[in-house]
Amino acid sequence: MGIAEQDMISTAAGLASSGKIVFVNSFAVFLTGRAFDQIRQQVSLPKANVKLCGSNAGITLGADGATHQSINHLTLMRCLPNMSVLVPADCPFEMGKAVVLRQGSRVALVATGPVTAHALEAADRLAAEGIRPAVYNFHTIKPFDIPCAREIACRYETVFTIEEHNVIGGLGSALAETFCELYEPGTKPLLHRIGIRDAYGESGSAEELVRKHRLDAEGIARTVLEILEANRQYWR
């Protein structure tokens, strides 16, 4: 379709209206940004059978810099009615069902996407400090696994979400929204969102950028320790 994301999405919608199953691909930043209105009006509104595949999401795109790094694709897609939103990672997959990768107690690390691997390494580091966090992967951001989210709220005192995305509007927000609407006593863990703290990306290597935003194992572990220390008085 050429360098024409808007044309691509509307054309895909036309193909889907004739009964085709359509897969479209572009960089996540251009797919969800440049063609947002087309996705809104011609894909999500009529529930067109178009699969949007956004590649190179997050800051690990690296050298190309801010204009090509998507930090708000989940925010944009999550707020569209009828849209399902998936973030693949090397984890077991069943649509809509979060995965418990490691059992733990008192603390939970809830991750999405490739940073899930860093969450697991962070959990190893924290074990050396006497902290044994559970680790979850949420590959389906929408429809959100609310039963699992409720279970996390009941089981753990402190919960960290981890995503290669703005802390506004992605996994952290989805979990926070669920926690807000839990009214049973004992279901209000402390929630801290780890991710891109509302800043644009920049050029650099993937490793440098991940380290800068504390999304590597060491950064995640350090954040967990800092937050636990700062809130020690609130531990049950």
């Binding site: 509307s10 036309g14 009529p46």
Partner: protein, 253 residues
């Protein structure tokens, strides 16, 4: 087959006074729609779900009242139900919603999207070895948007012979004259430059915004507005007079 100007009458009657409606652009294109649906397209109430039917896509979606009238005259839904347009719960949304009334092929309203959608339908038809035509109506103001030209390139590149564009060139948009806001004449050369002419075909129709109601003609004031009770009655009267005088002329000839 429709009687002369009856469709304009029904258009005006559909809009009770005091409600905000897109008069100008609906009146400027309703004759084009009459011509397409009654004289050109392989389409009817019986064929509306036929996979080989011709399609019409209203890219300038705000003129959907005109399309509702024509579809109703084809017998696809009752004319009386059109009075519910834009009310909560009505099938007749303010802009084309393909999930609601039958006969609406594409969701439009946000301008500039219809030709791309039509290209998608045309590509699917090619994959399925089907030969139906797809007519797309755009507004001249709509041509100011970039996606129209992305789509125009796609149609020409893939030589989509079954796509035909019509441009309702009524010279005005919501804020004023098209040429004063962002001029795009001459349109014929523009489309030709993008590879249109023989395959595929674009028809530039020189129309009158608000046609048929003297105080609405060639004005952007009636792009999207409400009429007073007086204006509403005057509009209906003018069109009725035109229908009567046309019938008189026909009966004498």
């Amino acid at each position: 087959m429709s009687e002369p100007r009856v469709e304009e009458l029904e258009l005006i009657r559909m809009f009770s006074f005091g409600k905000v409606q897109h008069f100008g652009g609906s009146l400027s294109c309703i004759e084009l729609l009459t011509c397409l649906y009654f004289h050109e397209m392989r389409y009817s109430a019986q064929l509306k779900d036929d996979p080989e039917r011709d399609r019409f896509i209203l890219s300038k979606g705000h003129s959907v009242p005109a399309q509702y009238v024509i579809l109703s005259m084809l017998g696809i839904f009752p004319m009386s139900e059109l009075r519910t347009i834009k009310q909560l719960g009505s099938r007749f949304q303010g802009h084309p919603d393909s999930t609601k009334p039958p006969g609406i092929e594409a969701p439009t309203g946000s301008l500039g999207r219809g030709l791309s959608f039509a290209n998608g339908v045309a590509l699917a038809a090619r994959l399925d070895s089907r030969n139906f035509k797809i007519f797309v109506l755009l507004g001249d103001g709509e041509l100011q948007g970039g996606q129209v030209w992305e789509a125009a390139m796609t149609s020409a590149h893939h030589r989509l012979t079954n796509v035909c564009v019509l441009v309702d060139c009524n010279k005005f948009q919501s804020q004023g004259s098209v040429q004063e806001i962002k001029g795009n004449e001459p349109l014929e050369e523009q489309w030709a430059a993008f590879g249109w002419g023989v395959i595929p075909v674009a028809i530039i129709a020189s129309t009158v915004k608000g046609k048929g109601v003297s105080f609405m003609e060639n004005s952007f004031k009636y792009h999207n507005c409400s009429l007073t009770e007086q204006e509403h009655r005057a509009a209906e009267r003018e069109i009725l007079d035109q229908i009567r005088s046309r019938k008189h002329v026909e009966s004498e000839s």
